[in-house]
Symmetry: C2
């Protein structure tokens, strides 16, 4: 099925083009100021007062935690985790996770996210919903072993990692990927670091890790191991796999040098880091040091949404205010964090992250016909500083429309909401 | 005209009521779980999957600066002001201001703001658009005299202040109010402080001031006068009028003591303070000290939107992250900043800021039937942490619908956009 966006503003890496974008075979096949030939029978999409941007890439979330939106806010981290989140999560089952995943992916699609990196439990359900939804997903199964010795593939958790990999990795021509994850240094130990690190490296998997999110965690690691979390993970070979390190609020200069050397992406989660009172990650310095920085929402329980436009704006303004430097993270940089850098983080840089001929047609159409976009001196500025998820009027992955004007083409949101309200909530809370 | 909201969630100061809200004579006349009598011929509004909240109150903006949205971002303050903003503003005329005001008020109404405090130029135009729009507005005419002696009522600027007061103050039963403003201590001097302070006090006007927005301004004032801006303004009687002090990023403990003693409201502008790299105001401490804290967007040139939901969420999360305290500003506090505290700031606390029988029907209806509101464990949490301006499906002031489902009932936004694009932009830039 071919599609042709007509008379639309197109945000390309080289600036804004006003004209036409043709989609053929799931790829961007044409970009230009004049209408292309060969699209006579294509679906024509009126682009007047609209803009096309590349799909946004959320490189750190836990999508089923959508179930916990607004369940427990404004508590200190310990109370939040031990009295509220962990007890609720302990009662999860596959049906809960499935329903929460539908709601979370629906929210992402409605807000212009076309690819996400996830870590959680009951990952078969997550992968299945992702497959049906049409979104791109990089899914990892969390294993927490604390100080216990792990024989990879022999305990429940790591067996699931293997099964997940065998059943799902590369599904639909790479749309679904399986990643590895080390949850964090304080919830795992050496045998898992070594074995999962090797497994990830041997199979070309992305490694996800939570790193130096809170001061307590960062300092506790130094006390226990004499090394920062990043240095520790480097030492045990975890970073030999292509890695996404989430949060990195408390990393130091040496950590940054390691991250740069090993090609580790820093997945910045500004909303979650503020809401959980973790602090503010040193993003301008990380960028200056040449680290690939991407963006994530984190789970909805600590956000409380999946709106990547909000992360983009907050990334752009937070570091200006914190560093008293209005040039700290400019609009273009913030936009790159949410797009091309996310694609690099996920190992998808050859398929998405920017609008160019030959890339997958992972496209988001914004409705500019709203007062908060008027006037438009600078489209990129309006997208970074004035847009929000609800300005998305169409989301497409590989040329297939997944969301349009409030309607989900692949997901049954009503049914998922029913399951959440009539099953998951009574089970979990 | 009577209206009746049916089967709706109503956010009152005492919690959420599910039921009915009746509007009669522009006031909230009934709130209850059962349908009231006497509304047989009223307009019935289906409230299923919707919520009613009090209209949001933006206590600091410069609405015509909507013209400058995205015009010059990511510059240092000096470059921004002197090379971009001031030269553009110097070419403003009434027609530009009128068109920009229509766009700005439209954006506010579409985002659930029902009252705003403004300071700018060409204020007849602002007042006229505000009157037509149906919104509540507290408008002040900026006078900048630097070190020049001012005889109040004899120079152009102060004459306009007088004319504005005489022509507009109290219009439509107090819906339009005229405030006084001292732009800032570095742009004005003693004769204006004394004369405008007296004028405001004698006539019961609110005084608006910009205070300690940047470190340079705060320290420069101490160097020049041996006092902080707040202490200086107290000394010259400016704070004897009921005052809204915007920004207050750099205020110290003694400033807070003065503000509390004089009943000064701190209008917090978290987005603008970050974007202009001014810093982060000490909001938790100010609240703890008993200062009335409200919220503002500041002008769109430094935001770049008028979305009070965004300010509310940022106020709730920013101070958690900055102070490493997840309880710093909770959801209820953030909601109060945007509603009841704003009403106190504007001297409108007897007419709006909360949903209660006898208050003006300044109401905002939110559409909860969207993935980012699912599930709903806690309505207030979802409103503060998950909502955004675009969730507003109806905005009503004094019982009159001003905005509904994308349609503006009182403003010609298309015409204003035409004037901006075909007149203002070519004139100003």
């Amino acid at each position: 099925m071919k599609s042709l966006f007509e008379n639309i503003k197109i945000l390309t890496p080289n600036g804004v083009i006003e004209g036409f974008l043709g989609v053929d075979g799931g790829k961007i096949a044409y970009i230009g100021e004049v209408a292309p030939a060969g699209y006579e029978s294509a679906r024509k999409i009126d682009g007047r007062r609209r803009a096309l941007i590349p799909g946004l890439i959320n490189t750190h979330t836990h999508v089923p935690m959508t179930l916990l939106r607004g369940y427990a806010d404004d508590y200190d981290l310990d109370t939040w985790l031990t009295r509220h989140i962990f007890p609720a999560e302990a009662k999860l089952d596959g049906k809960c996770v499935r329903a929460g995943t539908v709601l979370g992916i629906a929210e992402m699609l409605a807000g212009g996210t076309t690819s996400f990196s996830d870590s959680y439990y009951f990952c078969d359900e997550i992968a299945s919903v992702a497959e049906i939804s049409g979104i791109k997903a990089s899914i990892s199964r969390t294993v927490i072993n604390f100080d216990n010795e792990v024989k990879f593939g022999e305990c429940d958790g790591t067996r699931e990692v293997l099964d997940l990999f065998n059943n799902w990795h590369g599904r639909d021509n790479g749309r679904i990927r399986i990643d590895a994850i080390i949850h964090a240094e304080y919830t795992t130990s050496e045998s898992l670091w070594r074995s999962l690190g090797s497994f990830a490296k041997e199979n070309g998997l992305i490694m996800q890790i939570h790193v130096s999110e809170s001061e307590r965690e960062h300092k506790g690691c130094i006390e226990k191991y004499g090394k920062t979390p990043i240095a520790l993970f480097e030492h045990y070979g975890v970073l030999d796999a292509k890695t996404i390190a989430a949060h990195c609020v408390w990393i130091d200069d040496e950590d940054m040098a390691i991250m740069r050397k090993k090609g580790v992406t820093l997945a910045h989660n500004p909303v979650s880091n503020l809401k959980l009172a973790s602090g503010i990650a040193p993003i301008p310095k990380a960028i200056e040091q040449g680290i690939n920085v991407s963006l994530g929402t984190d789970g909805v329980a600590s956000n409380n949404s999946h709106d990547m436009f909000e992360e983009m704006k907050l990334a752009a303004i937070l570091h200006k205010g914190r560093n008293y430097n209005p040039c700290a993270v400019n609009a273009e940089t913030a936009f790159n964090l949410a797009t091309v850098n996310g694609a690099i983080a996920q190992g998808r840089e050859n398929e998405c992250g920017k609008i160019a001929v030959g890339m997958d047609a992972d496209l988001v159409m914004l409705d500019l016909d709203r007062p908060h976009f008027m006037p438009c001196h600078n489209l990129l500025s309006n997208i970074v500083y004035s847009a929000r998820g609800s300005d998305v009027c169409m989301t497409m992955v590989r040329g297939k429309v997944l969301y349009e004007n409030g309607e989900f083409k692949t997901l049954d949101v009503e049914r998922a909401l029913f399951d959440v309200e009539n099953y998951a909530i009574s089970r979990m809370f």
